[in-house]
Symmetry: C2
Subunit: 427 residues, 2 copies
């Protein structure tokens, strides 16, 4: 008998079909047994009027049975089970009950047993939403005429100053892991004008926070022939508006499992200068952002709160970051102590950083000199500015943070399949 | 005046518009000047009845002019130029002529000046096709119900034996760069049944060949509840058939620049056992594959030739690779000296490797023992086979090789934006 996919059961009422999948729940009610089975297309319940002791939760199974209408079931049908066969059995007891609505595990346990905890319905839902984020970032960028690129993660020099970079033995030399595709995506603006990349980035930051991991997937973009950095914010705004609307539609069931509602991205996300928001936060919330930092996590949280209270927006752009805190390639603003650099804050956490870049060679070199940065190993990048680079800008966005913030997850590590931190390289 | 995109010029006949883009060619014919300008949506020609000395090839420019019908032009229109302005100039001479139909550079020069050579129309076409490959792999996999995943590239142990792995200083420990997402995608079969990944992989192989780079983008997939490894080949066949048809449609103009025709992927790609193809190659082409190797590049080339001559197919699956040559997780075949492992050869070069994997814990451990492989650092992977893994299989496919073979490029490095080899970490 050929396999029927669970999504196609409803079209087979009255017929005997074969289902393959994982037993995600098994319940008994007197003489009746219920098996909830999952394949890659959905979930369905099979019912027996006898006990089926041999099958355990987590088993890979085959079921033969008749499709019956069942109004109370999610898809409107269930299976009246005839045969059940174990394709693959558990040779050990599961360390926790995957059929409970909540795993209630400590983060460390959740991650130590990652291969199994990922099978839980609520954990699965996180990565189904993540899958939708990837899909819709892709399609939104393509709709705006961006070309997808893949740039190297092995670099010949530690870019952007050299701090927090992982070093590799590369044959007879050393190489460094890319902290961002920054230089390459800028170079590619000279080729395709609009480019985007979905790729791994690596940060050797010794952080222990709820919002840092040492390896993550960055959603990058860079666009040429801009008039100003506001065009970059407009594009990011537009793209996020599309993505969030799509995730809301296509991810409804996964959001529901987490009792989460997708935020509406305003047509125009509010924008506040960093110097302004500092004053506002102090005045409104009595919090002073520590000197020597552009903005700290508490400041971001309060900026987010202000966006919500003042504009009813879960998103707020903070703009004009100080020249001293932004990388050498950031375009200085009218006030040379500021830049045309911005952060996007979503529910109180920065999810994207972007801005306009310097596109003239002389200005770039001058800016590097002021910042005391040596050009060593960056010549391939600097040289391109001798060849008519148009005004341009872009962003880097943390994919996992978006999901963390949509669902309100306690740690970003819950939004990474196999997260990496200072202590964790397994599983 | 607002910018008009080049793709929208045809709808503006008789109107004065503003175009922004790069001057990709400038020609003079007596008193008349022609400027070919490119933005991210296309190419258009602007015409002046005077000399426009100030603009140089490669400049980022703005043009104001009137849209005129011009039957001989590609889009049916051209611009009668009024104003021209340089937005960004070249401060140095271009090292080569980007307006010629062919760059005719040596590979080393092409790569040393990569940021500029990428601007050449023919080189751009390679990466427009690459962009279409990424797009259509994505959509084909999603249509088959695969969930997109992103798995870590930093590993706590050198997997699959430890050869040819890059080592990193990772805080107080060492880490290793992933050679493939193999273990993680298998684990994810236990979660979503069907998964795919587009991601960076790193190989510390000291090769100097036309078909190896040390960092590339692998198109991976893994699927559960298979009956046999033929289902995996069927899926790869189906997916490639879709992708190639789409690239043929959507990439027509880029293929034309390279005078390349897209191959038709047969409904059923021919399959030959490795032991068979060795005999055939010897008998038909008088070439003996060296002992101690499964198949060498010349053998692959001749297998490709056989596929073409015998089945009129640019693709051929070579199956049942020897147990001795395949990784420990490969499912042994009926004849235990063979495996249910296959390679896919496209125009004489291997583009994908795949097969069925062992899904039972005991069998996996036994196979490791036979191969003398220690489980150290792989426990997180091995343990999952105690928990009802279904029969499964998948593939890893070299994205850049596909483009290399479609276009007949002399080196795979031409199909990588910024390639990495033993000597090359720049640009």
């Amino acid at each position: 008998m050929e396999r029927t996919l669970i999504k196609n059961t409803a079209g087979n009422i009255g017929k005997e079909i074969l289902i393959k999948g994982r037993a995600v729940n098994i319940r008994k009610l007197g003489e009746i047994s219920f098996v909830l089975i999952q394949d890659y297309t959905g979930l369905i319940q099979a019912v027996w009027d006898k006990s089926i002791e041999e099958v355990k939760i987590g088993n890979a199974i085959e079921i033969i049975g008749e499709v019956k209408e069942e109004k109370r079931a999610k898809g409107g049908v269930e299976i009246s089970g005839k045969e059940i066969k174990i394709i693959s059995d558990n040779s050990e007891e599961l360390p926790f009950d995957l059929s409970k609505p909540n795993l209630n595990l400590q983060l460390t346990t959740l991650l130590d047993y990652r291969s199994l905890s990922l099978r839980h319905q609520k954990v699965q839902a996180i990565f189904k939403l993540y899958d939708l984020l990837l899909k819709n970032y892709d399609s939104a960028m393509r709709e705006e005429g961006f070309t997808e690129i893949k740039t190297p993660k092995l670099l010949g020099a530690a870019s952007e100053g050299g701090a927090n970079v992982f070093k590799i033995q590369y044959f007879e030399k050393h190489a460094y892991l890319a902290q961002s595709p920054q230089f390459y995506k800028q170079i590619m603006v000279g080729v395709f004008e609009r480019v985007y990349e979905i790729g791994s980035v690596f940060r050797a930051e010794p952080h222990f926070t709820t919002r840092h991991v040492n390896e993550y997937i960055s959603l990058d973009a860079e666009m040429g022939f801009i008039e100003n950095f506001e065009e970059v914010m407009e594009m990011l705004n537009k793209v996020l508006r599309k993505i969030f609307a799509k995730i809301g539609e296509e991810g409804k069931e996964y959001l529901k499992i987490h009792e989460a509602e997708i935020s509406e991205v305003p047509e125009k996300i509010p924008r506040v200068k960093l110097s302004e928001i500092k004053k506002i936060i102090k005045k409104k919330y009595g919090y002073e952002i520590p000197k020597g930092t552009d903005i700290d996590p508490e400041g971001e949280r309060l900026a987010g709160r202000y966006g919500k209270e003042e504009f009813n927006s879960d998103f707020i752009f903070v703009t004009h970051y100080p020249w001293a805190d932004r990388p050498f390639y950031t375009m200085p603003a009218e006030n040379p102590e500021e830049t045309f650099g911005f952060d996007l804050i979503f529910k109180g956490v920065e999810i994207a950083t972007g801005g306009q870049r310097i596109h003239k060679y002389d200005q770039l070199i001058e800016n590097m000199n002021k910042k005391n940065i040596k050009p060593d190993g960056m010549e391939f990048y600097l040289d391109i500015f001798k060849f008519a680079m148009p005004p341009h800008g872009g962003w880097g966005m943390g994919s996992e943070r978006i999901i963390q913030q949509i669902l309100g997850l306690g740690s970003i590590k819950e939004a990474v399949l196999f997260p990496r931190d200072v202590k964790r390289l397994h599983p």
